[in-house]
Symmetry: C2
Subunit: 335 residues, 2 copies
């Protein structure tokens, strides 16, 4: 197994990316390929570390704020484009990037294409629950969705959860604002009707406060709601954990308390801060693409490589193609 990593994408690239990949390389049977400026990458690696990874040369870098359409046209020699292209050519089984996520999505769509039967790929983010990591999708790829898209997300999420997270018959929940069937908005009510007939283990509506309790293994919503949620969660966890730090300033005892609790606080940060846990997937693409937060540090990159590895081992692309084969794609396209 080869996993290509865009070494130049992300706020702390290439240093943190390289560090994370070296850590991951020591734990995997697969081969990790760092894609980017070869001279810069070599300078960051000891000779022993260089033996652990491959370096694939790429001339340019896609800027974090560069419009995806421009990157798509003008940055074919970028670390991101080269890494994606390795998957297209069969030189890699998965690609990981903490770079410009819009450009990543655009390149993946253009270069790798969609799984047949899927209108729109979705971003699936990991969600921490008491039973372990579960997923929510779409986290921002599709801001205006039809009910049929939510059905597709449910099927993609179900396959991923079963194959990569080893959850048997994953419970699919539709994010809404009440659990009664009459609740929700026009979109969720129509999607609810479709999902009740769908070949997935649909458990009905779930609410925002169910996300972290694990009432469902796959939480489905449109990309607008998912992205707002993702960022609100980010803001809230920072406000709470950062606020605790602020709050102890006036009190010596509370400061001591903070110090003693530090491992627990750090653990909670790693658990609920998306930048730390990273590793979202583009589902519905004909290839395994792992999107990391721009703020990813070495730990997040190491985690993302593991996410990619599990997805490759679960052969999720083939499984998604099978699951979507039976679907009437024409019915979706008219929507």
């Amino acid at each position: 197994m080869v996993i290509a990593i865009d070494a130049m994408g992300g706020d702390s690239a290439p240093e943190e990316i390289v560090k994370g990949v070296v850590q991951a390389a020591q734990e995997t049977d697969g081969r990790l390929a760092l894609v980017g400026n070869a001279a810069r990458l070599e300078a960051l690696l000891t000779p022993e570390e260089q033996a652990l990874v491959n370096i694939v040369s790429a001339e340019s870098v896609v800027g974090m704020d560069e419009p995806p359409a421009r990157a798509l046209r003008g940055k074919r020699d970028s670390s991101l484009a080269v890494a994606v292209d390795m998957v297209r050519r069969g030189d890699a089984h998965a690609v990981v990037s903490a770079g410009n996520s819009g450009a990543f999505m655009a390149m993946a769509l253009t270069s790798l294409g969609r799984v047949s039967g899927v209108d729109r790929p979705a971003i699936a983010i990991p969600v921490p629950t008491p039973a372990g990591e579960r997923i929510l999708l779409d986290a921002g790829a599709n801001v205006d969705c039809h009910p049929e898209h939510l059905l597709q997300f449910a099927i993609l999420g179900s396959v991923y959860c079963e194959r990569a997270l080893a959850v048997e018959s994953p419970r699919i929940g539709l994010l809404s604002i009440g659990t009664e069937q009459s609740k929700g908005n026009e979109l969720t009510r129509a999607a609810n009707a479709l999902l009740r007939e769908a070949p997935v283990n649909y458990v009905g509506y779930v609410e925002g406060n169910d996300i972290f309790t694990g009432r469902a293994d796959v939480i489905v919503c449109d990309g607008f709601v998912g992205n707002v949620l993702l960022k609100t969660g980010e803001g809230l966890s920072q406000a709470i954990l950062g606020g605790l730090r602020q709050m102890v300033r006036g009190s010596f005892l509370a400061k001591v308390g903070l110090l003693l609790m530090y491992p627990a606080l750090r653990h909670m940060k790693q658990r609920y801060d998306y930048a730390s846990y990273g590793g979202a997937l583009l589902l519905g693409i004909k290839g395994i693409c792992v999107v990391c937060h721009g703020r990813s540090d070495a730990r997040a990159i190491r985690n993302a490589v593991k996410v990619a590895e599990r997805a490759v081992q679960g052969r999720i692309v083939e499984a998604m193609a099978n699951a979507c084969e039976g679907l009437e794609s024409s019915a979706f396209q008219q929507a």
Copy 2:
């Protein structure tokens, strides 16, 4: 000033409601009226406390899960209906309830009516920011919105923020998934265009992670997104703060740390747990209606009474009527 409180509504009614109202009565110049079963309420009050509040008798109670339409027809003698009616008759300046919020909304709409120019009242929830309490609306009254509704919410929120929270020229932010104008979904792009021409201090799109930083004083979104956010925030803060408690179990030192940090943790809970801070407002109704979380305890009720008091002092209903007077209501109704 008289504030009517539905003493029988809420998971911990009437005990916690009475306790909170007694606390609030000691801090206010206004008069607080407890509405409910007189014998039960009297039994919960000492003679000194009875002198602090009024008791208004109401025969029945609206169940927490009772369909609003049924409550509206069949529970005219309920504590909630009687409390709302006190506002209609001019016997009270505001009404507070932790009971069935759907029934509260329905009774307020029917009995008190809408501010002219407002198509749909919205629920405004308090949001903690470094600069103090700010608001987000709509938190669940309107799940499918037109751009014109979001414009109305912005105007209502602006008036409330200025008059009751004493924020000069409140900054209005539209919740979206990126700050560039091209971002967002169909609804936010159309609303963005309206808001740029509106008589409010519109600062453009804000993202989920801006909610708690105070980048805007009033955050506007549709009721589906707002309600999902509210509940996700509730779930996340419980997961983080509850998780910290779980996590220290294995470690004696961390337990000591938790103990020392307890005041800070409790403060964070009160700050970010909606059930604790409570006190949402129905804006756009011709009367001041404060909706509390069903789980409200005495502290939340006391806080809600303060919210009601500030709204009465700010004469927000008159101010909203003035602000909405200039609006072309017909333009909204065609939407």
